[in-house]
């Protein structure tokens, strides 16, 4: 099992090569293969997390070459945590993707699965690697896969995907340029090696420019406020399974890289003391929260609303990074997990609703709780988590973020965080209200005479199980968030904060 770090990558990778081969003969075999590969990957990631907890960081030399020369995998608490999130959510989304994939793209399901696996591979590769350039390569795998997956969505997805491609390429190029800038002054590409060389060069303009390039590039990739323009279109029109994966996992991976670069490659002293980046990040994040939520309030389209809410939630996470203290970062990392679960559940739920209703207009969701009781229950739990109602997990990350903001004596962020709870409540309760308390179509003044003869018409089990699993995970993560913090997140926070 000493090879498990690489196995979590190559199992989905090699499976993705097999998918088109198998797909020619037996289309039906693709789905089990994808699910199996991701299942093994997620079990392995759990195993890795376990061994990180018991034995400390794991190093793996690819090709047997020692680090600065070869590529090294370096898995610590932060990585392992992210790998577990990525692999598990992808696993659940893969289970879900079958029915929705069959409905949304019946003739291209084989290549859909192939690219889906490649996307997950790319994301996992980004998470576990300890090499700057290797990260770029996997970033591109994931990005290309994401462009294509978005583009196969409904009408309008094409432009969304194209804009994402342009913006994403700019982001990736900025990242690549940043790597080049670091390389020109250090001569190294290995993160660990860089972190040892860089402190002597902190006053070099090249290093600072590189840092700025990284931040801008990653902000583009994750859709942080002023650079979020691609995000709503892309998330709205992509197939539901894809939006779920992108919103819950892909943006989180960018966040992870940002944390990695800010606090591991560069040290916290540089990121916090030497340059005003944390202040800038928290301001943009604060505006992102308000902007995203106000935009979400006015959206009539369920998925578009969720997309704008994602903009806001990214703001939360970045705000935690910007606060740059233990509490804030704890909240941030916890929110990475929480938002991954919650947004995954919400997007999958939205997909399920679309699957049955054929519409995503919030005003036309009336009486959905009779038609799809389980989906709506899960959706409600996830919505409550977004608002931050205990004991769902969303509350706890918000609590830590508020603590972090108080610790940093930044009252404005406290107010924004509290206010955002209420804004969240406004647009999520709009959905809940429509789905539970309003009949189909317009509201009748007297609704007593409405019989309850409507039968439940739940989505197939393959779609329902991931949604319910995520909803259960939302509550469990909430209840056991203390455990998660004391075993993982506490140690995942970079030293020196």
């Amino acid at each position: 099992m000493s090879h498990s770090p690489i196995l979590i990558i190559i199992i989905p990778l090699i499976s993705s090569f097999f998918v088109p081969l198998i797909g020619w003969r037996k289309k039906n075999l693709c789905y089990p293969l994808v699910v199996l590969a991701l299942f093994i990957s997620s079990i392995l990631s759990l195993y890795i997390m376990g061994s990180v907890i018991t034995h400390g960081s794991i190093y793996y030399r690819l090709g047997g070459w020692e680090p600065p020369w070869g590529i090294e995998y370096r898995i610590d608490y932060l990585n392992g945590f992210m790998a577990v999130i990525v692999s598990f959510i992808s696993f659940l989304v893969a289970i879900y993707s079958r029915r929705s994939g069959e409905q949304e793209l019946p003739d291209r399901i084989v290549h859909f699965y192939c690219i889906f696996l490649l996307l997950v591979t790319g994301l996992l590769g980004m998470v576990v690697t300890g090499d700057m350039f290797n990260l770029y390569v996997f970033l591109e795998i994931a990005s290309l896969a994401a462009y294509a997956l978005i583009a196969i969505g409904e009408d309008g997805a094409l432009m969304g995907s194209f804009n994402y491609l342009i913006m994403g390429t700019i982001g990736a190029c900025f990242y690549l340029l940043g790597v080049g800038y670091l390389y020109i002054v250090t001569g190294s590409l290995n993160m660990n090696d860089l972190s040892q060389i860089l402190p002597g060069l902190y006053h070099s303009r090249v290093v600072r420019t590189a840092f700025a390039l990284f931040i801008v590039g990653l902000a583009l990739k994750m859709g942080l406020f002023p650079l979020h323009t691609w995000l709503p279109d892309a998330y709205t029109h992509a197939p539901s399974a894809v939006s779920a994966l992108l919103a819950s996992v892909m943006s989180k991976v960018s966040v992870y890289i940002m944390i990695r670069i800010m606090f591991t490659v560069f040290n916290p002293y540089f990121s916090i003391e030497l340059i005003p980046i944390t202040t800038m990040l928290s301001w943009t994040a604060g505006i992102a929260i308000l902007f995203g939520e106000i935009m979400a309030i006015v959206q009539p389209d369920l998925k578009r609303m969720l997309a704008y809410s994602s903009v806001a939630q990214i703001g939360y996470i970045v705000l935690g990074i910007g606060l740059a203290n233990t509490m804030g970062l704890t909240g941030s990392l916890l929110h990475v997990l929480n938002h991954a679960l919650t947004k995954g559940c919400l997007f999958l739920g939205a997909g399920a609703i679309t699957y049955r209703r054929g519409t995503r207009d919030i005003r036309q969701l009336g009486y959905l709780h009779v038609e799809m009781p389980f989906t709506m229950a899960a959706f409600t739990i996830a919505a409550l988590s977004m608002i931050g109602i205990p004991p769902t997990c969303g509350f706890f990350s918000k609590y830590y973020l508020i603590l972090g903001a108080i610790d940093a004596r930044q009252w404005i962020w406290v107010i924004i965080l509290l206010l955002s709870s209420l804004l969240n409540a406004i647009f999520f309760f709009r959905v809940i209200e429509n789905a539970y308390f309003k009949p189909l179509g317009v509201i009748h003044e007297s609704s007593y005479d409405r019989g309850e003869q409507e039968e439940a018409n739940e989505v197939p089990l393959g779609m329902l199980i991931p949604i319910l699993a995520l909803a259960a995970a939302i509550i469990l993560t909430g209840i056991f968030s203390g455990k998660i913090i004391s075993t993982i997140i506490q140690f995942a926070i970079p030293e020196g904060i």
């Binding site: 350039f133 583009a151 094409l158 194209f162 491609l165 390429t169 190029c173 080049g180």
Partner: protein
């Protein structure tokens, strides 16, 4: 002064090229032009990387196979940026491929590749 310029002009020109590409990417309305800008942008980055690897009075990084003298790193240009850029070129062409596929889909759907016209069409369809 001239020394300084000679020692840096390469970087400057790569920046100029990159900004040409960048400008095309963000302000051109024609989608094909955006892609052309993207290629220029990426190629400029590659130029930058290659510039990192250059050493004065050094030759291409292919070492003599049967020479008995010890190989001196100073005599060969730095191969690492070349390796990285091989990857980057491939990534570039892959991105272009996907982007062109998208472009063709967009043209099939909207019969135009001007961004503002597409926006207008979409607004009309939405309204």
């Amino acid at each position: 002064m001239i020394e300084y310029i000679i020692s840096k002009y390469n970087y400057w020109i790569y920046i100029v090229l990159m900004m040409i590409g960048f400008y095309a990417m963000i302000s051109k309305r024609n989608l094909m032009k955006k892609l052309i800008g993207m290629t220029i942008f990426q190629t400029a980055i590659i130029l930058f990387y290659i510039s990192i690897g250059v050493k004065r009075d050094a030759t291409i990084p292919i070492v003599p196979e049967h020479s008995h003298e010890a190989i001196k790193a100073l005599e060969y240009v730095n191969p690492l940026p070349h390796v990285l850029m091989l990857t980057a070129i491939v990534v570039m062409v892959s991105t272009s491929g996907v982007a062109l596929a998208l472009l063709i889909m967009i043209y099939k759907r909207y019969k135009t590749i001007e961004e503002d016209e597409i926006l207008k069409l979409r607004q009309e369809a939405g309204a």
